[in-house]
Symmetry: C2
Amino acid sequence: MFSSPWIPFLLFVLSTSVVTALPYRFPRLSPIGEKFLHHSRVLLEAPPSDDFKTFYYNQTLDHFSYRPESYTTFPQRYIVNFKYWGGANSSAPIFAYLGAEAPIDDDLNVIGFMTDNVIQFNALLVYIEHRYYGKSVPFGSRDEALRNASTLGYFNSAQAIADYASILMHVKKELRANYSPVIVIGGSYGGMLASWFRLKYPHVALGALASSAPILYFDDITPQNGYYSVVTKDFREVSETCYETIKKSWSEMEAVALQPNGLSFLDQQFKTCRPIARYLELRDYLWSMYASAAQYNHPPGYPVTRICDAIDGAVNGTLGKIAAGVFAYRGNLSCYINEPRNETETDVGWRWQSCSEMVMPISSDDDMFPPFPFDLGNFSRYCNGLYGVPPRPHWATTYYGGHDIQLVLQRFGSNIIFSNGLKDPYSIGGVLHNISDTLLAVHTTNGSHCLDILKANETDPEWVVAQRKTEVDIIKAWISKYYADLANYKQNKTF
Amino acid sequence: MFSSPWIPFLLFVLSTSVVTALPYRFPRLSPIGEKFLHHSRVLLEAPPSDDFKTFYYNQTLDHFSYRPESYTTFPQRYIVNFKYWGGANSSAPIFAYLGAEAPIDDDLNVIGFMTDNVIQFNALLVYIEHRYYGKSVPFGSRDEALRNASTLGYFNSAQAIADYASILMHVKKELRANYSPVIVIGGSYGGMLASWFRLKYPHVALGALASSAPILYFDDITPQNGYYSVVTKDFREVSETCYETIKKSWSEMEAVALQPNGLSFLDQQFKTCRPIARYLELRDYLWSMYASAAQYNHPPGYPVTRICDAIDGAVNGTLGKIAAGVFAYRGNLSCYINEPRNETETDVGWRWQSCSEMVMPISSDDDMFPPFPFDLGNFSRYCNGLYGVPPRPHWATTYYGGHDIQLVLQRFGSNIIFSNGLKDPYSIGGVLHNISDTLLAVHTTNGSHCLDILKANETDPEWVVAQRKTEVDIIKAWISKYYADLANYKQNKTF
């Protein structure tokens, strides 16, 4: 159930006191959307068992330079479950979950693709924490690591996947598991890392499962309004009247806010936790809520349906309808909208990452939201103001590619599953068509963000069960083919 | 003709005053071995025509970090020949020569594969200079750029190929040549860069011709004594007695050197330019000469044959025979062995590169040379002493792979020609077997280092003519297939 408490993912907007509209509109890029909810859900389940052992690797700060500072090391956390592994002698597989923009802790319980399939693959499970998150922080402390661009500078995806390569080679060496095939798994930003990892380090990973990875949402590859056009479509498909109500609500709320005592009226209507200072607070909250509901429109709760049922069912005017949507989405709380909340590591970390290299130009235009252009100039100035360095908006496509991906990769690379759920607004920046026989798109019409890699559940609809099975079968086929190649290689080794 | 004047490639040995044996034995890694000779050869030919236009790209100092210093830029030189290009409308090909550890100037005349084939491919020719060489130097001056590890730190292959990606994307954009296939070409270290470039940036290059690229001479992939075992074999195949003479000469020379007036006697025998201070000077000179002769054993001169003919033909004892070999190799000079000579950019640059990431463990053992182990500990201390930072001997295989390359790449990647000549001692660290239908090894039994990409010549033996034709035919097939894919893609574009 995805009811209580909703945590906005446009956290930045809510946690700063900037008055003018911020020059970006990036929804969260994580397998799990509603952090606190997931936390409580995790707590209800068994804690990670003793089978998970924690290690720290002495990681190099800067893989791509040889300045004296580059050699600085930091402890990078990775967690291993040996229990079901078939061992080095049989070259049993290694499943490696590539950590994304959060501490790795939750992933042990959340990423069902690892734990649900460990037995049938006799796999070793390895979870690697992303640099600058959790306990994998350079410069001795989070404060130091996040101090300014000089210390943050090493906090990027190329360094992160080089970390993963180093750790996986280390693990294989320690276990004398040279010939164990490694399958890397990641979701959202972590899914991008997984697909890029297979492309850049084929000698380390045999294949990748990249769940809900919008690797094409860079530069001009995907239309900027793609994300919010899918959010809009999701709501519209559930209910045309719901969509209409939301679409017209913005101007009505703004008009109310401009009236004498208008903000107080909005406070009453929305049962705000503290008085809202201006309409934009309310707007951004609702905006984020709709986006999050669409992105994490998981069964069995289906938050988009829940919101729309409430909106359509309420009888007390547009504002009352919108407020009913909020109450339904968040569940029974003493107050709504602007609950006090601390910034998370993800908020802080992703702010840097999206302001440096993960520049995804997302706008809204001709959908159920107010128009909101993405202006790269504004965005650059904004980031420069925060960190003293500008973003590099073209670096992701320079290093990883993306333009004409079908043409480029149809005869290059292999063994990547790009999985998506088409209700997920980020899916519009994902790979939705097979590129070759081994670069495969696996998607579901009704799926949401990273649903396929979350824990299997009795209430799962048949289509997500089928999607997961397809993914498992594809990976089994990669591994079988690899074992055949390996046997042949060992017999006929020529060099 | 490869007669006059021989330039030692173990320059380091000759240009320092270290008394003990240096902990490495790295032969030069360039398409052209005998720099001065080539210079004079180049001067005899037409100078680069007006068809070559020089450009400077505002290159990023550090692609992989976002510290304020990373954004520093420097002018990187690239040279373009537009004359024969078929143009963007026909998506005519781009041949990009990836500069190696030298200024780019000479390559315009030396790399015949570019100029000899430009007309039949209607190709645009682009030559890109490697960072820290020639006119492509950061920090405003060579002195600053080479000052210490803090400025040298950005001088590495990953940054260099990211430079190439940035420039090639820039050139394509400027020419609106989005769909022009790029073929990258390089020799020796530049050949390694070409093959790695295709693997890391398939969205920028359609294919690579990697000539004499010893990408497997890292870590423990290739036996350490491989290089000198091939040198030995080359000499032995020309003449068993020549081989025997060289093999026994070392102890005889050393014994002479230890006698009273022994060094003077050696000075007389070898007609040295100035008195040799100790036996090791002579040893290292000869060692380098034999290696260079084998590596650059080009037709029609065949320096190994020339040396052995002289050794076998001389009648005045072992020392006289060896001296005759030197005179034959170097031609008629007023003196030999320790001619005064300035360090080149290549000497200085490659010293850093081999002391940071291009750590190729080369030893001699059980061949015609004195035993010379490669001791990584010594080597690291030596490099650390020079630069204050140790080498990263495992980085090349971490970033680029190499172990079990056949197993790893048989279902990954495409469109690389690994060309080699088996007389070239570096060929033993090259890819000598086809990995897949499109990762191809093209080698000749009698070929030498980078011979295939040098200018075609009337005196070329049939086998090198055939090798070049094979390479051209393979590249033509890649491009044809690409054009078919492109037509199909434009018609059926799904995303």
